[in-house]
């Protein structure tokens, strides 16, 4: 199953704390590898916390775990991930004359990779 979403990479408190603790340590790595998905999208796609998905943009591909976003933080159709190595792999090199690659609002295709055995 493949669906199109808009991905917003951004800062989180845990990601910020993880930078100070060390980028190779568990907190930082967990945060930048967790994709937040709106509860409505989680239900529709049959996803549960911890399922793995593949995100494919025009410029790259990554595999991450999903977590449901809290409350109504995300509208349906929008994904969020903490800035880092993973989100940057989906950016292109072109900065359109600005010096800044398009780093937010990235079009991605989402493929569900695996579900827990119980489902």
């Amino acid at each position: 199953m493949r669906e199109t979403f808009i991905l917003i990479p951004g800062r989180t408190a845990d990601q910020g704390c993880g930078i100070s603790e060390g980028k190779f340590l568990e907190k930082y790595q967990r945060e930048i590898n967790s994709l937040q998905v709106a509860p409505g999208d989680m239900t529709r796609l049959g996803l549960t916390k911890g399922d793995r998905v593949r995100l494919t943009s025009e410029h790259g591909q990554v595999e991450v775990c999903v977590v449901p976003s809290k409350g109504d933080e995300l509208p349906v159709g929008l994904l969020f991930i903490a800035y880092g190595d993973v989100s940057s792999k989906l950016m292109g090199g072109d900065t359109h004359g600005s010096g800044m690659p398009t780093s937010k609002g990235i079009d991605v295709e989402l493929d569900v990779l695996a579900r827990p055995a119980s489902t």
Partner: protein, 449 residues
């Protein structure tokens, strides 16, 4: 156990087992809070009073890593050998780049600019992938601005656009923008209206009186809707709803409130600069701010991320005339974002050597940029091991600014703040490393004095 209180600026005494550093400066984010009381036990910070969650992580994890001060090709080396190799790399390159600097004090930034000048190199800071587009917009539109102190004392209409300070600048609300009681807002939060515009209902949205959730990639359209309303232009409700995802009546209500404010402030974040439109988004916001001054006092401030990214803009500007993305290959500075900015010089395969200072392009840049960086010799200065230091030909482990070393940083509102170090480090500061490299570079290019 002995205890002592060190006065601001006073060097900490090594033999003391317990001391308190009053009014220390946190350099994690652009708020640069300078009211932190640090308790230091055996050269280690055990308490950071008044620090936010990010500040606590910054101070309490400062421990010196068990890593050599210098690695050459991954092997431990003397500092002198590292300085020699670094200078050789920079001087040998035909298109050397220097990049980073947002987590270094102004004194070190100044030396880095000098090195770029001696080697006819390109110097750029992390501003280019942060508020670089806003820097371009400042040049195009101008900046109606003020200090955070004025916000605290006067601001009665506080807006955040594409910014989530609850997670990126946790003390922003309480120290500067929403909660403080000020001279003209004596009741603090009760005297202020808070509006947040974002594509996500972020944790910051809980602090808002009005939250406006716009369509992704519709910031430009939302800002121009407000510009039109400020000028009294009639708009088609269907078109506005379609373009922004928000009803025209919501924008009209917001504009009425903005005009009724006595002192309005728009803080804006990378929700604008990193999204399609980039500098055009920032230009629209700055132009709206300018427009509002026909009716009342309004200012705009970018919420800056790193502790001294604002200092980097200032230092590079007063050394070269431009804030970032500056090329010296013709012997004089030239500015051209999109050409001399590091994302471009790397992704386009142009840079052939480099030096990164307090940044991590091997983790944060696009794949084409990372791939190219991995193929060229470069020097990395950082307090911790990162993907970038691992890939560097020469990696210096440096002391942490504001914790181990002093100096000056600029708060996000361009106010310079002194640092008050609390601990000692076995590693050199980035100022020391850069000064040593500069000395060798000057010798290699034949500059005396």
């Amino acid at each position: 156990m002995s205890a002592a209180v060190a006065a601001p600026g006073e060097a900490p005494a090594v033999e003391e087992s317990l001391k308190v550093i009053q009014d220390a400066t946190c350099t994690f984010c652009g708020c640069v809070c300078d009211d932190i009381d640090l308790t230091v036990k055996n050269n280690h910070i055990v308490e950071a009073k008044r620090a936010c969650v990010l500040g606590k992580a910054w101070f309490l994890n400062h421990k010196t890593e068990d890593r050599p001060s210098c690695l050459i090709d991954g092997q431990p080396a003397s500092l002198d050998a590292g300085y020699d190799r670094a200078a050789d790399i920079l001087v040998t390159g035909k298109y050397p780049i220097i990049y980073g600097l947002s987590d270094s004090p102004c004194e070190a930034q100044r030396v880095a600019v000098s090195i770029a000048d001696w080697i006819n190199g390109t110097i750029d800071t992390t501003t280019s992938v942060c508020h670089g587009p806003s820097g371009m917009a400042f040049q195009g539109v101008g900046e109606v601005t003020c200090s955070l102190g004025e916000v605290m004392n006067r601001g009665d209409m506080i807006m955040f656009w594409g910014s989530n300070p609850a997670e990126s600048h946790p003390r922003h609300f309480t120290k500067y923008s929403l909660m403080p009681k000020g001279m003209f807002v004596p009741n603090g939060r009760k005297d202020r209206t808070c509006v947040i515009v974002d594509v996500r209902k972020t944790k910051s949205a809980k602090a808002a009186d009005i939250f406006i959730q716009i369509k992704p990639r519709a910031d430009f359209e939302g800002l121009w809707t407000l510009r039109a309303l400020a000028k009294g232009v009639d708009l088609d409700p269907v078109q506005v709803q379609h373009d922004t995802g928000v009803e025209l009546t919501v924008w009209q209500d917001l504009m009425q409130r903005m005009k009724a404010a006595k002192f309005g402030v728009i803080f804006f974040g990378m929700g604008l600069t990193m999204t399609r439109g980039k500098h055009a988004n920032s230009e629209a916001l700055l132009a709206l701010t300018r427009d509002m001054n026909a009716y009342t006092r309004f200012v705009a401030k970018p919420n800056r991320g790193h502790g001294n990214v604002t200092g980097a803009d200032n230092v590079v500007a007063w050394r070269t005339g431009y804030p970032f993305g500056v090329n010296h290959s013709r012997g004089y500075p030239r500015f051209n974002p999109g050409e001399y900015t590091t994302s471009d010089t790397l992704a386009n395969g142009e840079a052939d050597s480099g030096m990164t200072i307090a940044c991590d392009p091997m983790a944060n840049f696009s794949e084409p940029a990372r791939r190219h960086l991995a193929t060229i010799p470069f020097i990395a200065l950082d307090t911790k091991e990162t993907p970038t230091t691992r890939a560097a030909a020469v990696a210096f482990t440096v002391a942490t600014y504001g914790i181990h070393t002093g100096g000056t940083v600029y708060r996000m509102d361009d106010v310079p703040i002194p640092l008050r170090p609390s601990c000692e480090s076995p590693n050199p500061s980035d100022f020391e490393v850069l000064s040593q490299i500069e000395r060798r570079v000057k010798a290699l290019v034949g500059v005396t004095g």
